[in-house]
Symmetry: C2
Subunit: 120 residues, 2 copies
């Protein structure tokens, strides 16, 4: 029997990868048919997910993990981000994990300061 990583382990490994600017490694934890409920709408499929993540990783300067919890199916990761656009942009991700990969993600963050920056 192969031991399966827990949803929390998967979520944290994913988190470490993308906050470390390692997109290839981050995508190893994302299912091909992933669905992300993001503030701007749904992101469907790994290709669209990667594109969306790449945009954010490009401007990411650092991330600080605030909290991470999980059970047999779900994990929640809460963190702050510092980007070239916004000094503090906290985020929360509530993910469903199946066979070691994130199949569903609910991403919560405040778009307003980012919108104000692009408008400013």
């Amino acid at each position: 029997m192969i031991e399966q990583s827990s949803p929390l382990q998967v979520a944290l490994a994913y988190h470490r990868a993308w906050t470390g600017h390692d997109l290839d490694r981050a995508m190893e934890y994302i299912a091909d048919d992933v669905v992300q409920e993001a503030p701007g709408g749904w992101v469907e499929g790994a290709a669209a997910y990667r594109e969306s993540l790449a945009h954010f990783v490009e401007i990411l300067e650092r991330a600080d993990l605030w909290a991470a919890f999980g059970d047999d199916t779900t994990a929640v990761v809460v963190y702050d981000t510092k980007t070239t656009l916004v000094e503090s942009g906290p985020g929360a991700e509530c993910v469903t994990v199946r066979d070691g990969k994130i199949v569903h993600s609910r991403l919560i963050f405040d778009r307003l300061p980012f919108a104000q920056t692009s408008a400013g």
Copy 2:
């Protein structure tokens, strides 16, 4: 020895109270010197906290709990809200609990749809 409620129990009781429009009961779980890091800035003290919460509860139509986890000091609650202004406004709260009350809270939600509504 009096058994102390866990941070998760406190966070959930607080969540049930305010989503049930019971402000008085909700405030029983908030410490007098609470500090909330909200998207719009810091909210300091129970009076300011109550005022801020009251504004939101006033427009709240329903809330759905998505996930809730905790340990000995901290809890995270993730949920969706339906308000008179925005059809779906997900939120995440990462709270620190001491002596059965929330002393620190990090609130994450997307202000953009609310800002667009007030502007529209």
